[in-house]
Amino acid sequence: MAHEDHDVIYDLLAARGVSRRDFLKYCGSIAALLGLSESFVPQIAAAVAAGAKLKPAVWLNGGACTGCTESIAQVDSPDVATIVLDLLSLDYIETLSMAQGEDALAAAEAVFEEPGYILIYEGSVMQGFDGNTLRIGGSTGIEELEHAAQNAAAIVAVGSCAVDGGFVRANPNPADATGVKPYLEKVGITTPVVNLPTCPVNPEWVVAIVVDVLLLGSLESGAILDKLDDWGRPKFIFGQTIHDNCPRRGHFENGHFVNEFGTEEEALGYCLYKVGCKGPQTYTNCPIVRWNRRASWCVESGAPCIGCGSLNWVDVGAPFLNRHRDLPLPSVGNTQPGVVAGVVAGATALGLGLHALGMKASGRMDGGAPYEDMKNYDRKRMKKGGGN
């Protein structure tokens, strides 16, 4: 490759804000990575200059079950290979990275040095035992998060665990779990967070946010922040309830309900409201985007929504097969609101019954007791004006 060609490339890169020195270092490291000799550097340089630079991204797993990573592999528009090969440079993701150990962490570290990358966080932020409830590469998960969040252009918190701790933070929250946004607020890191709840995250949303939104420039312009609600959730995904968009809504209005699982009503696709469906108070567009490449979704397969996209979803949604959540009453334990109401109503009825017996016994049933003598106080006030 002729020397002039190099200059053209460097000019192009300079226009994109990449210095000659950085660029050569970068190409050299790629060559080393590939086990290629230094003589390949110019070729790599030409190739890189030819292609647009992909936005670097890092996917961190906090207190995760890996379900959100699994979920992102279940998308076809675009598919996961296109995302990680052609759209993003996902330089670190524990579940898919070819690299391992220190070399894998070094790949993430290289990204962290250049501000402007996208950080995707899966799983709860584990605070228990000073963060030692999650240990990665010799340090704790919270150290890793704080470090990674500093220079990120935006953080996408995928799944309910990353949003607010998810099921892990459910009462009594034994590992002191929380979400990315609340944690970063606590430690004073102001990187914007886009919250994508549900358990796991619906991959369509991740694609919509990362590919359609962040890569199309609304990250730089800041427009993404206008699309978020108070909890950091994109309004166009989490603005309506499942109930609003449910294909079984007609049956709900008609009063066609499934009374028991596995029945004829189930086969007819009747409404699951009576068996505890949390669709009316769950804000996601599951009925529209559906799951697993539109194969189905919870209600379509016959199960009531458990509200996994709600904040603190286990405490708020359980018992999942009842209409109401349980109330965690001190010393009684989890109790249904209806039981509490029944006890209070029963006590009231009993009280009134006993009182009626007293009224009967004291002979007040027929017109009440005789009036007391009017006190001076009453008399004085009434004379002054009215005895209302």
């Binding site: 699994e70 690299a99 391992q100 240990r135 004829e264 697993n292």
Partner: protein, 521 residues
């Protein structure tokens, strides 16, 4: 003496640290540390038994179906509920789809990069690749297009998920042709599609994957209609055909280049399976993949499994619960102390069976099934042994390569059964059987759900009092396999399997990663 540390071990479910001591190019000691504690067992207390199914499956995002089933079975066991036959078949089908999904994902997406070097694929000749695929009897893709895409990707220079991979590591089989590397890369991409097809089956029957909705205690909330049945069948057929024509031939084509892996990675030689895929009797020992325990001390013989024989030790992990308890009376009191391989070093407890560390997983299941004379398993294992030049020697399976082969062969067996179960279900529906759920109103009892995740033996233990969960304990396959040392200092199965592994480059212990990853932890 040198310590080699891989932390995090990538391409697994969860957070794992593998620390090995290497002497003269061989691993002489190993410590495996689980890095995450969430306290699921504590979270479930005082909740409804029917909630356990929904929450407990979230222990694992790769095998939630098995956790969900073990949980719901523990509740049914406690309440004395027997699910209807149709529900059994629906559950078998959902479970089968997860097995197929999980094994495809493991082999291609998680493990293949330990054996296949994408950079080597760049020098493949396209015509030769077609010829090789034909000769190996494996699936033909558009190899030219894959090679071009790979080339463009490498030229672009941003390696994304391949960043910092150990390209050109000397442990990659030197004599494996570039064309076979390219075939594997092409199938790596195809596998991404196939695992998603398997997950779609779960979505149709269970609402979504990961984390499904329908296998509630008492049966299933999924009532198959005609339009759903074909959605399920055509996907199972597609998967069976792909596993038969691509995954199995790929395994047999790559295996000979890593025949050395038959020599190490076996471990203690104790195997435990509770069994999976119920038949009409619901007995652990008569499941399609039956339960059983194989102890090294008794050679290749199988005994009936008994959950009563489990004890969990915690002296070397970060708990201060009573050590040596059976999970039906187990405790979970986390208490972190520093990481020290001489003292406590893991969040994983150390379960033992009859006092012995036990390997769990496809190798355990296939060995137990083989020894119990399950026909399809015997046939496929014997065929594979012959192909590997070890006809009539099932003991060679107790190795790194054997563990991988067992998993992939199991995929094929489960694919074939899935069609059988589907036909059985379709026949029952045609015959007018419309029962999917058994109502129940008992509110107390103790139960266990002994089952198998794709990665091994799994037990959920529940104690229900007054309609609420009074105790919940889980023993996961990863708890068996990545178990820390027990109170006697005996290594866990993965730790033991690592010992004896040859290491070419102690800085980059690829071979140790292969052994650890072969458990699909």
């Amino acid at each position: 003496m040198a310590r080699s540390v891989v932390d995090p071990l990538t391409r697994i479910e969860g957070h794992l640290r593998v620390e090995v001591e290497v002497n003269d190019g061989v691993v002489t000691d190993a410590w495996v540390s689980g890095g995450l504690y969430r306290g699921m067992e504590t979270i479930l207390l005082d909740r409804r038994p029917s909630d356990a199914f929904f929450v407990a499956q979230r222990i694992c995002g790769v095998c939630p179906i098995s956790h969900g089933h073990a949980s719901t079975m523990s509740t049914e066991d406690a309440l004395g509920v027997t699910i209807p036959n149709n529900a059994r078949l629906v559950r078998n089908l959902i479970e089968a789809a997860q097995y197929i999904h999980s094994h495809i994902l493991w082999f291609y997406t998680l493990a293949a990069l330990d054996y296949v070097d994408p950079v080597k694929a760049l020098s493949a000749d396209i015509a030769d690749t077609y010829a090789l695929a034909q000769a190996a009897g494996t699936g033909v893709s558009d190899f030219g297009a894959v090679a071009k895409r790979l080339q463009a990707f490498v030229d672009n220079g941003q390696l994304s998920i391949f960043t910092n991979g150990w390209f050109g590591h000397p442990a990659y089989a030197e004599d494996m042709p570039a064309e076979l590397h390219l075939i594997a890369v092409a199938h790596y991409l195809e596998a991404l599609e196939m695992q998603a097809v398997a997950a779609e089956i779960i979505a149709v029957m269970g609402g979504k994957f990961p984390h499904f909705m329908t296998s509630i205690p008492g049966g299933t909330a999924f009532v198959p209609t005609e339009q759903k049945l074909d959605d399920i069948l055509f996907r199972f057929i597609k998967l069976r055909d792909w596993v038969t024509s691509t995954m199995i031939p790929d395994t047999l084509a790559i295996a000979p280049f890593y025949a050395g892996a038959l020599e190490y990675g076996g471990g203690h030689g104790n195997f435990l399976a509770w069994g999976v895929f119920n038949d009409e009797s619901f007995e652990m020992t008569s499941r399609y993949l039956p339960g059983g325990a194989v102890m090294a001390s008794r050679g290749l013989t199988v005994a009936d499994p008994d959950p009563g024989n489990i004890t969990e030790y915690v002296e070397r992990s970060w708990y201060d619960s009573t050590t040596g308890l059976n999970p039906s009376v187990g405790e979970t009191n986390a208490n972190f102390d520093e990481y020290s391989t001489d003292a406590q070093y893991s969040w994983v407890k150390a379960p033992r069976y009859d006092g012995q560390p036990m390997e769990a997983g496809p190798l355990s299941r296939m060995l137990v099934a083989y020894l119990r004379g399950v026909r399809p398993v015997q046939e496929i294992v014997d065929g594979a042994l012959a192909a590997l030049g070890a006809a009539g020697k099932p003991e060679v399976l107790v190795s790194l390569l054997g563990r991988i082969a067992a998993r992939n062969l199991e995929t094929k067996v489960v694919c074939d059964w899935s069609i059988d179960w589907f036909n059985e279900l379709a026949g029952a529906i045609a015959g007018g059987d419309s029962k999917y759920f058994e109502p129940h109103d008992v509110d107390a009892g103790q139960g266990a759900g002994m089952w198998e995740a794709p990665r091994g033996a799994l037990g959920h233990f529940i104690d229900i009092q007054g309609g609420k969960i009074a105790r919940y304990q889980v023993v996961t396959p990863s708890t068996w396999d990545t178990s820390s040392r027990d109170d006697e200092g005996v290594r866990g199965p993965m730790e033991e399997a690592l010992v004896g592994t040859p290491i070419i480059d102690a800085e980059r212990p690829l071979e140790a990663c292969r052994v650890a990853r072969s458990f699909d932890p």
